[in-house]
Symmetry: C2
Subunit: 491 residues, 2 copies
C-alpha cells in the first residue's frame, strides 16, 4: 500500500488506520449504541454545513485534521445501530458483517470473473445454493443486486424476457401493453421499475388490500380479466411479503393460482420479510414461496447487515444469464484456463459488481443458522410485546389489532383528545400529532421513529416502530411509550 | 453494539474486531502489496472449494475459526492492490478511501432522506457541486450509481425522459423505434441498457472507429441520417472517453455538432477516463465535455477507490428528480421539520442507497486537489514510459504507436516467430500466445495482466496493461517485460 509513491511506513498510514479503527470502535460501536447517548444530534442543514469542514483544498490535510472531521461525521450522523433507532427497515450494528465488509474493501474484488474473484464467486455460489434451498427452489439461482428496488426491477425484466425473449433484441415496439400488478401497500419500486423499463407507470396496476394490508386476490382477478378484455397482456404480479409500513404478508397460494391461470410471473417482494424464512416458527407467513418465480430478499433489513446486501432469487437458474448476457469479448474470453462457467458476470446487467456476499457469510458463519433464526424469533417476540404494551398504555392505539411482522404501527392520542367523538376534525387533529412529536423527538435526540399517512387508514399520520435491532429489549419498548407520551402529552 | 442480547464486551467483540483490523493490515495492506509476495495463488475451483470452509453450520463458529477463514479468504484472493496487478481498470489499495469505507459501514446510513443521512447528503451535495464544476456544468447535478453500467443506463433513461416525458407514464408503446449510438470500442453496458430499458439491443447502433479506437463522426452522421430515413428516432449518443481496451477518447466537439443537428442527447462515458479531468496537463483529452448532456465518471477506476464509487453527472440539475420521482408518501412526507429539498432519494431509481461519497471525500480531502492531479500525471508518465519500453524490447509490439491513456496494449511475439512474414497463419499463432502466457502467469502468481481480441485488430489476442496503481513504478514495468518474456519465450 502506498500513497503518491511514499510507502505505507513513510506516511504512518498504519498509525492512521489504527486511529480510524479506534475511532470507529469508540464513537460508533460503543458510544453510538449506548442508551445514555442521544440517537441523533439533529442540526438544520445550514447549521450543519458550518460544523463540518466539507471543503476540499488544493493541498493535503494532516491525519489529525481528517480524524477530527471523521469524528464529527460520526457525531452528527444518525446512530442507526442505537437501541432507540426504530425509524427504518434497517437498524442494528452487527460486528461480524462489519468485519466482512472491511475484508471486502481490503481485497477490493469484482464479481465478474473467476480469475479476479475466485473466493467470492465460490462463496456466492455456495450462498445462493443455501438461499434457494431455504426458499424451496430445487434448481434455483440468484444474484446480489444493489438494493431491493434494483432486485424488484430485475425480476420484472427477466419476467418480461421469459415471456417475450425477442424484446431483448427488438425492444417493446409493436407489442400490446404489458401490465404489472402490485397491492396498494406494496413498494413504490415497482412503479419506478415500470417507468425505467419502458413499460410505463400507468401499466403498474394497484390492487386493493384488506384492513391488514394484505392484497385482495379477488380484486387482482377482476383487474386482470378487465385488462385482458381491453387488449392488455398481464405479465407480472409482485406479491409483498413484509409490506413497508404495516408489515403485512400477501397470501402467496391465492396469487399463485391466479398467476398460473393467466400465465403471469409471480415475483415475491420479500425484501423486508425474507429473513422470516430463517425461523421455523414464523416461516409459515411466506407459505407457498417455493411456487413463486422469483424472490427479493434484503439482508440489510431484518438480518441487520450494513448496506447493501440484496439477493434476487430465481426458480429457473438459467434465466438470469439468458436474459442479460451480452458476451463482451474483452472480459468473458472463451479461451481461458479454467471452467468459464465460474465467470458469472454476464448474468448481471452490471459489469463491475461489488462483493456483497462476504459480509453476509461472515455473520452467518459466526452465529450459525440457529443464531440467524434466533434473531428473527426475538424480533417477533418484541413485536408481540409491543402490541400488548400499546393496548395497555393510555393514549396509544395500534393501527392493527395484532402484530403481523416485526414492525408495529400506532397512533398517539394526546390527553386532551382522549375519550372524544372521533369526527373528521378530530382525526385531522390527530394527523398533525405525529409530525410534531417527530420534530420534538429529533430535536431532543432521544428516539427515532418514523411516521406516515396511508390512504387505507384515512390518510391520518401514524407511527411505525421497527423492532429487529438485536440491541433493543423490552425495557426499550417501555421507554418508547414513555418518551412519546412525554413529548406529546401537551399537544 | 450487541449480538443476540449479549453485549459488545461479553463476547469480546472488540477483541475480534481488533484482530480483524490487524489481519487486514498485515495480510492485505502490507503483505498483499509486497513485491516479494505473489499477486495471486491461483487454484482451480474444485481445489479452492476444499481449501476454504465455506459451509455454514447450525451452530456458531468461534472467533478463532472465523479469523482463520478470513485469513484464507485474503490469501486466495487476487491482490488487486499489488504493484504487479495490471489486469483491470481498477487497481491499487488506498488507505484513505478504505478508512472512509469503514466509517460508512459503521454509520450505516442511507442516502434517501436528510433525517437519516444529514452529513452524507450535505457531503454529496458538496461533492456534486465540485464535480460538475470540474466538468464545466454551470448548474449541474448528479447521483452516485451502483457502477458505471448503471450510470450509463440511467443516462439513457433520463435522455429518453427528456425527449418523451410521457414514456414515464405510458411506456414505449406507440412510439417509433428509438436509436442509440456507440462506437464499436465503446462499453457493452449500452447494449445491456438497450435490452433492460425496453429499447432493444438492435437499436443500439455501432459506429466505426479509426485505428486508434476513436469514433468516426462521419459514420455516425451517415447512420443517423439513414435511420431517420427509415423512420427511427435518433435519441442518444454515447461518447467514450477512455475506452475499455485501447483507452481512446472520442472527439466530443464533433459528436456535439451532430447531436445538436439531430436533437440527440450526448452522454459521455468517462467511467474510465473521467479522472483525467483532474489533471491540467491531460484534461484536453476530454475537450468539450461541458457541452455534453451527461457524464459517467467512476472513481473506483483511475482514482483508485474500492468498489463502488460511480458518479453520473447531468447538465440539467432538475432532470434526475423529474425523470425518477414517484413521491412515496411513507418516506418523502411533505410535513417535515426541515427543508425537504434535502431529501434527495426520489432522484434515484433506487430506494435505499448506499453511501458512496465518504470514501471519495476522505481520499480527496487527505491528498488534496494536487494529490488527485498528481496521481493522474504520474499514471500518464508511466504509460509514456511503458510505450517507449515496449518499442525498445525485442518481441514486444505496441498495438498503437502512441499511448492514449493510462492503459497500454501490446502483442508479445515469442522468439521463434520474430522476423517472419506475417501471414494469416502467423497471426493465428500469435493469437494463441497471450492466453498461454496468461495461464502460465496465473499459475506462477507473478503478474496479472489481461488479454483480449478486438475485431478492429484482426481478432488477434493482445495484452492490455493498466498503469494507474500509485504503487507501481518504472522498475515494475521493466519487470513486466522481463516476466512476459520469461514466461513466453519458448512458445
Amino acid at each position: 500500500m502506498s500513497v503518491e509513491g511514499r510507502t505505507f511506513t513513510d506516511l504512518d498510514v498504519e498509525g492512521f488506520l489504527g486511529a480510524v479503527h479506534k475511532l470507529i470502535t469508540e464513537e460508533a460501536f460503543v458510544k453510538g449504541t449506548n442508551r445514555g447517548n442521544p440517537v441523533f444530534e439533529f442540526k438544520q442543514p445550514e447549521d450543519l454545513k458550518t460544523l463540518i469542514d466539507f471543503e476540499i483544498k488544493a493541498n493535503p490535510s494532516t491525519h489529525a485534521a481528517i480524524l477530527e472531521e471523521l469524528t464529527k461525521i460520526i457525531k452528527y450522523s444518525v446512530k442507526t445501530g442505537h437501541p432507540y433507532f426504530f425509524n427504518l427497515l434497517f437498524s442494528g450494528l452487527d460486528p461480524y458483517s462489519q468485519a466482512g465488509s472491511w475484508v471486502t474493501d481490503a481485497v477490493n474484488s469484482n464479481m465478474h470473473t473467476y480469475e479476479t474473484s475466485p473466493v467470492f464467486i465460490l462463496m456466492e455460489n455456495y450462498m445462493f445454493k443455501k438461499l434457494t434451498s431455504i426458499v424451496g427452489f430445487d434448481d434455483g439461482g440468484g444474484l446480489f443486486c444493489p438494493g431491493g428496488s434494483a432486485s424488484n426491477q430485475l425480476a420484472l425484466h427477466i419476467a418480461r424476457f421469459n415471456r417475450f425473449p425477442e424484446i431483448k433484441k427488438v425492444g417493446l415496439y409493436g407489442l400490446p401493453r404489458l401490465r404489472c400488478y402490485i397491492s396498494e401497500d406494496g413498494h413504490y419500486s415497482l412503479k419506478k421499475a415500470g417507468n425505467y423499463l419502458g413499460i410505463g407507470e400507468e401499466n403498474v396496476v394497484t390492487i386493493l388490500t384488506d384492513n391488514s394490508g394484505r392484497v385482495l386476490p379477488g380484486d387482482l382477478q377482476q383487474k386482470v380479466v378487465a385488462d385482458i378484455e381491453q387488449g392488455y397482456i398481464p405479465l407480472f404480479v409482485m406479491a409483498t411479503c413484509g409490506s413497508t409500513v404495516l408489515g403485512s404478508f400477501d397470501s402467496l397460494p391465492e396469487l399463485q393460482d391466479i398467476c398460473r391461470r393467466y400465465n403471469m410471473w409471480l415475483h415475491c417482494d420479500a425484501c423486508y420479510g425474507g429473513s422470516v424464512l430463517l425461523s421455523k416458527q414464523h416461516r409459515h407467513l411466506l407459505y407457498g414461496i417455493e411456487r413463486c418465480d422469483s424472490v427479493s430478499w434484503n439482508f440489510h433489513k431484518m438480518s441487520g447487515l450494513p448496506h447493501q446486501c440484496a439477493a434476487l432469487l430465481v426458480k429457473n437458474k438459467a434465466i438470469l444469464l439468458e436474459a442479460n448476457c451480452s458476451k463482451a469479448e474483452y472480459l468473458f474470453q472463451a479461451d481461458k484456463f479454467y471452467d468459464t462457467n465460474y465467470d458469472i458476470g454476464d448474468k448481471s446487467i452490471q459489469c463491475g459488481r461489488k462483493v456483497d456476499v462476504l459480509k453476509l457469510w461472515t455473520l452467518w458463519k459466526a452465529i450459525g443458522d440457529l443464531g440467524m433464526e434466533n434473531r428473527i424469533n426475538k424480533a417477533f417476540e418484541k413485536a408481540r410485546y409491543m402490541v400488548d404494551l400499546l393496548k395497555k398504555s393510555p393514549g396509544f392505539r395500534p393501527v392493527l389489532p395484532e402484530f403481523q411482522c416485526v414492525s408495529v404501527s400506532f397512533w398517539y392520542i394526546p390527553e386532551r383528545y382522549r375519550g372524544q367523538e372521533e369526527t373528521p376534525e378530530w382525526w385531522l387533529a390527530i394527523h398533525k400529532v405525529a409530525p410534531e412529536i417527530k420534530r420534538r423527538m429529533v430535536e431532543a435526540g432521544t428516539l427515532m421513529i418514523s411516521y406516515q399517512p396511508m390512504s387505507s387508514k384515512g390518510f391520518v399520520n401514524f407511527f411505525r416502530i421497527v423492532l429487529h435491532n438485536p440491541a433493543c429489549n423490552q425495557g426499550d419498548m417501555k421507554y418508547v411509550i414513555e418518551e412519546i407520551d412525554r413529548l406529546g402529552k401537551d399537544l
